[in-house]
Subunit: 202 residues, 2 copies
């Protein structure tokens, strides 16, 4: 059985949980307390030298870090990945965008504010920079969803799961989604998928 | 014929050029002067609302941004992508690591220092932060290459191309690769591949 080394509030971990649940794959959730250094112990670093969750243990194969590598591995050959090559390219385009532009801004702001409990005063200019980058990413996502129900190939794919994870909790980092009607409608569609579960569920 | 909207010093663009050359795919190089705002014009933003190069124009399909989405699309079904699912997951693990940990540190430091010509004094604390993150990424890469000739599946794959692009010019951002023998040996192996070409060639 798969084992997922994860931290419940993590959006990156949540992507893996959504795919595991959607595909009805059995797994054991292993809680790693990243706030107290649980992902920096020698034992954990042997699984992922980069010291980050999530990590998927694949029986007989080894440990696989990086949320998007994990979900692509789990969903290989399923309808969560488009069959047509250009559509699959488009899916990866959105997933790369998420890791480069959305997660490091919206995800990090949320981690500082919501998980670590830091105040706006403590964070100062760093938070202002993250807000600027995060809203720029939301602008791109809003435009990408114009006239579309899902990001790619007119159906629910890994791209939707990957971008939903931090976007739907952006308010926890101080972002306001009110000016983004396309994003809000799409979030509702993702959350109404069969087997969907909230970020608070293992 | 493919058209690649690119900027010659870009490591992200270079990944696409290496794959196009390796696979002997014909393409037209379209120079975008990102230093004078060439990737922020209305015409360019219609191709990529995220305002970044590289972008691949695929005849009959559309415009595909994001270097790793582009190289995965181009190399689909070739020996640059492992056939075995876990190996393919491992390839994406390294490519995600590159976009999250290596490119934003080593790539950005190089852009500031080498492309924009900024001095250490001008950059101050920002450069120190990038150096710290960049060396941490190099540590992970050095460890990942221990006892291996290539990153994944004991052969040359997209993972090697993706990580080589900024690593082999890390010195242009002020990084010293002398303490990293595994990385230096691997860089030599990548640069000795058939059809390899330097970052300065279109």
């Amino acid at each position: 059985m798969y084992r997922l080394f994860d931290y419940l509030p993590s959006g990156n971990g949540y992507k893996c949980r959504l795919v595991l649940k959607h595909l009805q794959l059995a797994y054991e959730f292993i809680d790693v307390d990243i706030k107290s250094g649980g992902s920096r112990t020698p034992e954990f670093l042997a699984k992922n030298p980069n010291g980050r969750i999530p990590v998927l243990e694949v029986p007989g194969k080894g440990y696989l870090p990086e949320s998007h590598a994990i979900i692509a591995f789990l969903a290989d050959g399923t309808d969560l990945i488009p069959e047509e090559a250009f559509d699959r390219g488009r899916m990866w385009q959105w997933m790369c965008f998420e890791q480069y532009n959305l997660e490091p801004t919206i995800g990090t702001a949320r981690f500082w504010v919501s998980t670590l409990g830091k105040t706006r005063n403590e964070l100062g200019e760093n938070l202002i920079e993250k807000k600027k980058g995060g809203y720029a990413a939301l602008d791109v996502l809003e435009e990408g969803l114009r006239g579309r129900r899902y990001l790619v190939a007119e159906r629910y794919t890994l791209a939707d799961i990957a971008l939903f994870a931090y976007t739907h909790v952006a308010h926890e980092g101080g972002f306001d989604l009110a000016p983004y009607p396309n994003i809000r409608g799409w979030c509702d569609r993702v959350a109404s998928q069969p087997k969907w579960q909230p970020i608070t569920a293992k």
